[in-house]
């Protein structure tokens, strides 16, 4: 096991990793930007180090700053969290060159799975049904137009690096494609420092279902079930749940088994998430693998009792998984609500400012992962995630009932949040019946969605 881990991230995930380090008895150093000086992970850490100014390019995205911080604080591993440098194989390689361990897949594995477009072809060769898409990355507009013509509209433009909906656009015509590509390139460049894009066929009315896997260095792998992340706004997940209401138990089991077999055969290592689109007829198409901890990992944790971050750190340290598929049990139903500082009544405009009052809900099956507190100033420089409310129940209706109570109890004053959209969701028939698709919120429009809920 590692002696000391540098946590190179911020917000709730920095705190989550800090807690995992505590559990493992490993020292941790929180690396922070000047804008996060007063943040909870910095205050709770045994040791914290300022790595740069608020601009992420000079702090959380600066490989030299992070590696230098790890070295001078005596760390032997770096946890990248999600976003920022978490999927940057160049960063992982430089980390290793400085005799530090990148907590995630080793560089050669990241190299193989780092390109989303390349991974799709690799896993297709290992038996995963994949979605039709462009051959290779887009060289220029002409290439994009040709590939789009071949695949057929509508088309999704996607960045090869990173996730979270940045640099992603759905287009229905060549004209839309041409104008969207510029926006996508600049968004991807800003978010991930890499503007390479590829195309994917867009399935109407699809659901987003992903399979969590964990594979150790010795080729022992398990799946930890699936999560349904179909509640999205502009390709950004806002609610995740498991098991998925979209598929039968047999179909879910078959998907998970196909997924774990393919990644073990393709030489994957560490925890990872395989994302699939599921069409109206229940056919699943692989779209990409995320080689990092995900925002929605607690859904799996409360369902299986397995700590995903601890598992990730142990695998990175070279430990064997220590359990088999037969040891993994799935209990009940879990739903996660992302609590964002954004205004659902105002096109989800991100908000910054001071949180005046903060009260976390409680009771059976309730978990809140958050870095905020009363008096915390939400900085305007980073993403809008304030925390995640995770609700567990023995079955879906109980989980939904507990979620309603918990969202009512939750108090975040002084800043606008998206809690109303969650409350509206819990009264909407498509969600209650488990038929939400990824484009539904965007199609209905959030304002109309809220209005409909308030009438109900």
């Amino acid at each position: 096991m590692f002696r000391k881990i540098l946590i190179a991230n911020r917000g709730e995930i920095a705190l989550r990793v800090l807690r995992a380090c505590r559990e493992l008895g490993v020292d941790a150093v929180v690396a922070y930007s000047e804008a996060d000086r007063d943040s909870l992970p910095v205050q709770l850490a045994d040791e914290a180090i300022c790595i740069g100014p608020s601009d992420a390019k000079r702090s959380y995205l600066s490989a030299p700053a992070i590696i230098s911080a790890a070295i001078i604080t005596g760390c032997d591993a770096i946890h990248p969290g999600y976003g920022f440098l978490s999927e940057d194989e160049g960063f992982a390689e430089v980390v290793r060159a400085h005799d530090l361990t990148f907590i995630g897949p080793p560089p050669q594995v990241l190299d193989r799975f780092g390109s989303k477009e390349g991974t799709r072809r690799l896993l297709a060769n290992h038996g995963l049904p994949t979605i039709p898409g462009s051959r290779g990355l887009l060289r220029d507009d002409m290439h994009a137009l040709e590939e789009a013509e071949r695949i057929g509209y509508p088309i999704l433009i996607k960045p090869s690096a990173g996730g979270g909906g940045k640099g992603m656009r759905m287009v229905r015509s060549p004209r839309e494609l041409e104008s969207a590509i510029k926006v996508c390139r600049s968004e991807a460049k800003a978010a991930f420092g890499d503007d390479s894009l590829y195309l994917e066929k867009w399935l109407e009315d699809n659901r987003h279902v992903e399979v969590q896997v964990a594979v150790d260095r010795y080729g022992q792998g398990v799946h930890l079930g699936e999560r349904d992340c179909s509640v999205q706004r502009r390709h950004q997940k806002i609610v995740e749940e498991a098991p998925t209401p979209a598929m039968s138990p047999a179909a879910r089991a078959a998907l998970c088994e196909t997924a774990i077999k393919a990644v073990v055969a393709a030489g994957y290592e560490n925890i990872g998430t395989l994302e699939f689109l599921v069409d109206r007829d229940g056919n699943a198409f692989f779209i990409e693998i995320n080689c990092r901890i995900q925002v929605e990992h607690p859904v799996t944790e409360v369902l299986t009792g397995i700590d995903m971050v601890v598992t990730q750190i142990r695998i990175a340290a070279g430990e064997p998984l220590g359990f088999t598929q037969a040891d993994v049990e799935f209990r009940g139903h879990a739903i996660e609500f992302r609590i964002n500082a954004e205004d659902p009544a105002n096109d989800f405009r991100p908000a910054a400012g001071r949180i005046e009052r903060y009260l976390v809900p409680g009771g059976p099956g309730i978990r809140m992962d958050s870095h905020v507190y009363a008096g915390y100033e939400v900085p305007p420089f980073y993403d809008s995630l304030l925390g995640k409310l995770i609700v567990w129940g023995p079955d879906r209706p109980t989980a939904i009932a507990r979620a309603r109570g918990a969202l009512d109890e939750l108090v975040i004053d002084g800043i606008v949040t998206n809690v109303p959209i969650h409350q509206a969701l819990l009264t909407s028939e498509p969600f209650l019946e488990g038929r939400i698709t990824t484009s539904m919120l965007d199609r209905v429009g959030s304002a109309a969605f809220l209005a409909a809920a308030s009438r109900a």
Partner: protein, 241 residues
């Protein structure tokens, strides 16, 4: 990769050079008035009111008081390193009656931190209503305005190992932008530069010691300060005395 040094110098020159002596004296007078007369009255008022926060504007200045218990006080404050690096920040936001002196009118959306030891003394600052206080103290040095108007401190441009420059020992005269040493970031030197003209004073960190971004490294004594004080008719008051 590390930021280029010229850009840093430019911002420091701007930070240090954009106020005339008269303005500086007027600022000091304003701070004295705020600290001497207004502040005790405000503290009493805040205590009596039960409000969490109180803000008063006078001319270009703004004072915001935040009462105890508004903001977490978790006792253990990050690392010693971090605290040492930011003498002004320890009380920021949570200490009883933390003082935030702001000057309005910078078009940027970054409000410089309220703690009086931060860069805000040298440049105009947004009274950013929503975001409140976010320090970006890194690039320029820190000016110790109300405490000691004759000193500034050169801060670390990066996280790494500090190596002072032998050619600028204590007592050496330096110009704004002159190199005082480097911070070694994975073998790439990042220049530590003087935020203002002056004389090199104490070095706050040993050679070869690890430093974080924004950490105070080298004190610069302002040579012209006594002259400025008398020319301004003692406007800077106790700060220059």
């Amino acid at each position: 990769m590390p930021e280029p040094a010229p850009e840093r110098r430019k911002s420091e020159r701007r930070a240090s050079g954009d106020r005339t002596r008269g303005q500086r004296a007027a600022d000091h007078a304003a701070i004295d008035r705020l600290a001497g007369d207004l502040l005790p009255a405000l503290v009493a008022k805040l205590g009596a009111s039960g409000l969490g926060e109180i803000e008063v504007r006078e001319g270009p200045w703004k004072v915001r008081l935040r009462g105890p218990g508004h903001g977490p006080n978790l006792g253990r404050r990050a690392s010693d390193r971090a605290s040492r690096a930011q003498p002004g920040h320890a009380g920021h936001g949570h200490a009883p009656g933390a003082l935030e002196g702001h000057r309005p009118a910078r078009p940027a959306n970054v409000a410089v931190a309220g703690a009086p030891h931060s860069t805000n003394g040298s440049g105009p600052v947004t009274p950013s209503p929503a975001t409140g206080t976010l320090a970006d103290a890194g690039d320029a040095g820190r000016r110790h305005d109300d405490a000691d108007s004759r000193r500034t401190v050169a801060t670390s441009p990066a996280v790494g190992i500090f190596r002072p420059r032998k050619e600028t020992p204590s007592g050496a005269r330096v110009r704004s932008g002159d190199a005082l040493g480097i911070v070694d970031v994975l073998g790439i030197p990042q220049e530590v530069v003087a935020p203002t003209d002056g004389v090199v004073g104490a070095t706050l960190v040993e050679a070869g010691e690890a430093v974080e971004y924004g950490q105070e490294l080298v004190v610069i004594e302002l040579v012209s300060a006594p002259a400025a004080g008398s020319a301004a008719g003692g406007g800077s008051g106790p700060a220059s005395g």
